[in-house]
């Protein structure tokens, strides 16, 4: 039986804010994402120029070589405003918490074969520093990017990477091994196998074009690193030992799958705006992809030995396919 619940119905004068009605082409209700995002960043009548970079306005489209007719075309298909983002992450952290608890309860880390553990921690733990660099580089994009669509998505992604760095740290602690964290830091700073990667992220810390930082950090580097480690390497460990590392890095895997949708949509919309953007994106993707391959090769070699090259080649193909799908011909 259908029940008709009655409420007092009052006809509104308008459905949404003026700037949103103009954007949507009609006065209709706007989603909370749209309300929280579109056309909110100031674009005019700034009072003062930054004392730290007087050549620019506070928000300035010329901080990147990319041009857009509408910077809010860079919208997020996940529709993450703060509330939606934090609810999604709240659920993910609850699952992660359960995983960490279970590993502890069942003593899975302690039971992990010593050989596999040493090998795995050597690969995983320096990644906490990579995530930290990612946090910083995404903070740059968020700070100087144009429009709230890109600034908020990268702000959330930056905080996500702080979370990743902390989850990797907890992974080290779950194996009851603070020494391994210290050794991993030394390896990150001095070990030959990590130096190209460290150079890569440090070079991005002084790169001024925020869109290039986004392409280099998020698309090129993470587009190879995450499948390499959090998918392939986990699969290898699962097969050889047990799925403990897969459990304790579930957050990273889910994060990458979800974030890729957002990033590819951003790349696609940017390329679709004009041909110069397309050419620029292709140039950046090639440049940073090739550098990322150099940076990740020694890491892949540690993880996969003789199979490393073949796996890297496959991942590069996948990345190229992602670019092609977003309309960027490399």
């Amino acid at each position: 039986m259908a029940i008709d619940l009655r409420t007092v119905s009052i006809t509104p004068l308008r459905q949404t804010f003026g700037h949103l009605a103009r954007r949507m082409g009609a006065d209709k209700p706007a989603s909370r994402y749209i309300e929280a995002t579109m056309d909110l960043q100031p674009v005019e009548n700034y009072h003062y120029r930054p004392t730290w970079e007087p050549q620019y306005d506070i928000f300035d489209t010329t901080r990147t070589a990319i041009t857009m007719k509408d910077w809010y075309a860079l919208k997020d298909p996940r529709q993450y405003y703060y509330g939606a983002w934090t609810l999604a992450r709240g659920r993910m952290q609850e699952v992660a918490e359960g995983d960490f608890d279970l590993v502890d309860e069942l003593g899975l880390a302690a039971a992990y074969p010593a050989e596999g553990k040493a090998q795995a921690l050597k690969v995983f733990l320096p990644l906490r520093h990579v995530a930290w660099a990612s946090n910083l580089n995404k903070a740059y994009v968020s700070s100087y990017g144009y429009g709230i669509a890109i600034s908020q998505a990268t702000c959330y992604a930056s905080m996500d990477q702080l979370g990743v760095a902390q989850y990797v740290t907890r992974l080290g602690m779950a194996f009851d091994d603070l020494d391994a964290l210290a050794a991993a830091k030394t390896a990150w700073l001095e070990g030959a196998e990590w130096q190209e990667l460290r150079r890569y992220v440090e070079d991005l810390m002084v790169e001024k074009d925020w869109f290039e930082v986004l392409v280099a950090q998020d698309f090129a580097l993470e587009g190879l690193l995450y499948p390499l480690i959090y998918e392939r390497y986990n699969e290898k460990l699962n097969a050889a030992y047990s799925p403990v590392f897969s459990m304790l890095t579930r957050f990273q895997r889910e994060w990458f799958g979800e974030t890729t949708k957002w990033l590819d949509a951003v790349i696609k919309a940017t390329g679709a705006d004009n041909a110069d953007n397309k050419a620029k994106l292709a140039e950046w993707i090639k440049k940073w992809r090739d550098r990322a391959v150099v940076a990740l090769k020694p890491v892949a070699a540690q993880a996969f030995g003789a199979e490393a090259d073949a796996i890297m080649a496959e991942l590069v193909q996948n990345l190229n396919a992602r670019a092609a799908k977003a309309g960027i011909a490399l």
Partner: protein, 514 residues
């Protein structure tokens, strides 16, 4: 988490492992190139590791707490909206508080989000960087929840629909814009003193408590819930601002005079912004919480005074402007309201003359000033309005070159005399509203000659809607200013007789009677 490794670690060590142990000193790029902004202001930091984390919140815990808060908040907003909650406010005049709030506050929270993101990138200590990033993402929360809570009111009442367009164009929003533009264009340490300390610590209570309590007192559960939900974030932000001051002062004695000058500057700049909060409290809330004067005494004189006493051990003295703010607490709310009443054609919110009861309340709360200076003005305006001669000041206002407030404040010690100051810089004359604003101008004239003053810009043809040819022979600057502002005529002028007033009455009738 309950593991052996963590049992060995104290909270502090664990948090350190989760934050600053992640960081390293770069070697492929020089640290001063990675963090190029932290030296030019003259602040000397010798050891970033001495930073005491003001709170220790890892991301997993952050997501857990914040998602619980968001779930509750949006459930309440949905319920409030579904049940026509807007009709439960005390009276429709209250909605003008929301118009004032929507225009002035979410845009500034947004600037805080962007500014703290910049701090979260530029500070070269890992501790302060993480704390600033966390505040940045909180500020996204604040401007978005504020917009979401007011969104439903916009559907039914006039004057809220163009806040995004108006944030950079409306003359009276220019003071808030200049405040945040000033902070964000300053160096990172000054930003932290301006926003982290002066705004979020010294003045935050008098900014937000009246709005939130005002919402609670006047039946606005949407805004009230947003405010309460933000309080635990604000508590974190306050500890960050205070830690930043202490850190700078402990690092080097040479930092003291710089920090003191910033505290003087930003306490005053913040105070000037508060005039609008004052008029909201004393004139716009149908059910009052307390007077602005009482709030000033409680939140600024007592709490702020205690804070500065606490900072005395670092050599910090009470802000120079403190004495003047105490004198002004009995005046600014009246001067502001009267100022807005006199401009019925230029704001997207309504004004009105207080009822006789409300005037008596003001007399009681302001025994030294209301009857003597302000009641006669309001009664005169009231009589003129009733005689069909409603006062309407159509001239462009004169603005302070620093705080961008309209010139309306009195000479210290003389309520009958308007206060003007001027400075000559490079042969040009610049006007300020007070000794404190003049001092700020004189310290950094190159910055403040850039201020965007609407009244001047209109005359230069810079405030015209798209498509207007400013070189046409018959061009008249400012003739189409309402279009430039996208100001809905229904939102202008007197509350009495407004569409809002009529609709609210009709809808309440519909919702409560058969």
């Amino acid at each position: 988490m309950d593991m052996k490794a963590t049992k060995k670690l104290g909270l502090k060590e664990r948090y350190s492992l989760m934050t600053r142990d992640l960081a390293w000193d770069t070697t492929y790029q020089k640290m001063e190139d990675v963090f190029p902004q932290t030296t030019y202001e003259g602040i000397k930091i010798h050891d970033w590791d001495k930073w005491e984390d003001p709170f220790r919140l890892t991301m997993d815990a952050y997501w857990k707490y914040q998602s619980e808060k968001e779930r509750k908040l949006y459930a309440i907003l949905d319920g409030f909206n579904q049940n026509n909650g807007h009709l439960s406010v005390t009276d429709a005049r209250y909605i003008n508080v929301l118009k004032l709030f929507l225009g002035s506050t979410p845009p500034l929270e947004l600037m805080a989000a962007r500014g703290f993101s910049m701090m979260g990138r530029q500070m070269n200590g890992a501790g302060p960087r993480v704390a600033c990033q966390m505040q940045a993402v909180d500020e996204y929360r604040h401007f978005q929840t504020q917009i979401h809570s007011i969104s439903n009111y916009n559907k039914y009442y006039n004057g809220m629909d163009e806040f995004a367009h108006q944030q950079s164009r409306m003359w009276y929003l220019s003071d808030g814009k200049s405040f945040f533009d000033d902070a964000i264009t300053a160096g990172p340490f000054e930003f932290m003193v301006a926003i982290g300390f002066a705004f979020e610590y010294v003045l935050t209570n008098i900014l937000f408590v009246p709005f939130i309590s005002g919402a609670a007192y006047n039946g606005d559960m949407a805004a009230m819930t947003v405010g309460f939900s933000a309080q635990s974030d604000e508590a974190r932000h306050m500890t960050l601002g205070l830690e930043c001051i202490k850190f700078m002062l402990e690092q080097d004695p040479d930092n003291l005079p710089i920090v003191q000058r910033w505290i003087d500057k930003w306490t005053w700049r913040g105070t000037r912004k508060l005039a609008a909060v004052g008029m909201m409290m004393d004139y716009m809330l149908p059910k009052r919480i307390m007077s602005f004067k009482e709030a000033w005494e409680m939140y600024v004189e007592e709490n702020g005074g205690a804070l500065f006493k606490d900072l005395a051990r670092y050599g910090i003295t009470i802000p120079k402007c403190f004495g003047q703010t105490i004198e002004e607490k009995e005046h600014v709310s009246h001067q502001s309201w009267i100022g807005f009443y006199m401009k019925p054609g230029a704001t997207p919110f309504h004004t009105w003359i207080p009822t006789p009861d409300e005037m008596d309340w003001l007399s009681e709360k302001y025994p030294n000033t209301f009857d003597k200076y302000y009641r006669p003005v309001l009664e005169f305006f009231d009589a003129q309005e009733k005689a069909g001669n409603r006062f309407d000041n159509k001239t462009a206002p004169m603005n302070c070159q620093v705080c961008v407030s309209t010139m309306k404040f009195n000479e210290p010690g003389d309520p009958m005399e308007m206060c003007f100051r001027e400075s000559i810089y490079k042969g040009e004359k610049f006007h300020t509203c007070s000794d404190h604003c003049k001092e700020i101008f004189d310290n950094e004239p190159e910055k403040y000659i850039q201020t965007f003053i609407s009244s001047h810009q209109v005359l230069q043809g810079n405030c015209e809607p798209e498509g207007v040819d400013v070189n046409a022979p018959d061009f008249q600057p400012g003739k189409q200013i309402l279009d430039y502002w996208k100001l809905d005529k229904r939102a202008l002028g007197d509350f009495n007789g407004s569409e809002d007033q009529k609709n609210f009455a009709a809808w309440r009738e519909q919702a409560t009677k058969n």
